[in-house]
């Protein structure tokens, strides 16, 4: 456990998105900060709560991601917003991204989440989101605590860095 001395930097991240691509920024920043002796709290709310499930089945959608371009045979293929309307396209995009992740030596989300747990990143699941979407605490990993906006606020007020992703 990190020594919470006077000089220890603190950071919180509010995690609101639950797709495969959006799962990366909070977990990369959270684990890296922890490795650099920063005390990290991650607050998972709304779709972000999906990232705390025991069984992760994360997907990526081209919908709402107009800047998405997938590398393909030395070129880049744009992913027009019309594409996810076609059955199977999101599944194909997800497979493509998972293959790229493996090929480029990028960590899986499972791996990064495990690293977060190992480095004592405090993870808070949002109680209201559990109620709202009728999610079961038992489907979430054990290493989290459940709380609300005030739980995050208490940490945020003491933190040097607060991010919303």
């Amino acid at each position: 456990m990190l020594d919470a001395g006077e000089n220890t930097k603190k950071m919180t991240i509010i995690v609101t998105k639950g797709t495969l691509d959006w799962a990366y920024p909070p977990f990369i920043l959270g684990t890296t900060a922890a490795a650099m002796d920063v005390e990290v709290t991650m607050f998972f709310t709304f779709y972000g709560l999906q990232l705390l499930k025991k069984d992760l089945d994360l997907k990526v959608s081209t919908l709402g991601n107009p800047a998405m371009q997938m590398p393909m045979g030395g070129m880049h293929m744009s992913m027009p917003n019309i594409m996810p309307m076609i059955p199977g396209v999101d599944r194909m995009t997800t497979t493509m991204m998972k293959n790229l992740i493996k090929k480029k030596g990028v960590a899986s989300i499972e791996e990064l989440r495990e690293a977060a747990i190992e480095s004592d990143v405090k993870m808070i699941g949002c109680q209201m989101t559990l109620d709202l979407f009728e999610l079961d605490r038992k489907d979430m990993i054990d290493e989290i605590q459940i709380g609300g906006a005030a739980t995050w606020m208490e940490e945020a007020a003491k933190s040097d860095i607060n991010l919303y992703i």
Binding site: I28, T32, A35, M36, D37, G105, V106, A107
Partner: protein, 74 residues
């Protein structure tokens, strides 16, 4: 001469940093860890990591696509 060697070749951000931290945790003060990485981002990142954590970056070099860092545990 390094006390421990970490092969982080082929790994991408932030894995070289996470694995470096893990390796340093198991070492004692004054010992030297040698890290080998192929991620070009690790040049800037390893320096920033050492600045922030107080471990000393003794040297960095590269041969072809491989970057080698020597870090002294604080």
């Amino acid at each position: 001469m390094a006390d421990q060697v970490l092969d982080a070749k082929g790994l991408n951000c932030p894995l070289p940093i996470l694995k470096t931290k893990k390796a340093l945790k198991g070492m004692s003060s004054g010992q030297v860890l040698q890290v080998m990485a192929t991620d070009p981002g690790s040049i800037a990142d390893m320096t920033a990591f050492c600045n922030q954590t107080g471990n000393e970056l003794l040297s960095q070099s590269n041969e072809g696509d491989v970057y080698t860092f020597e870090i002294k545990v604080s």
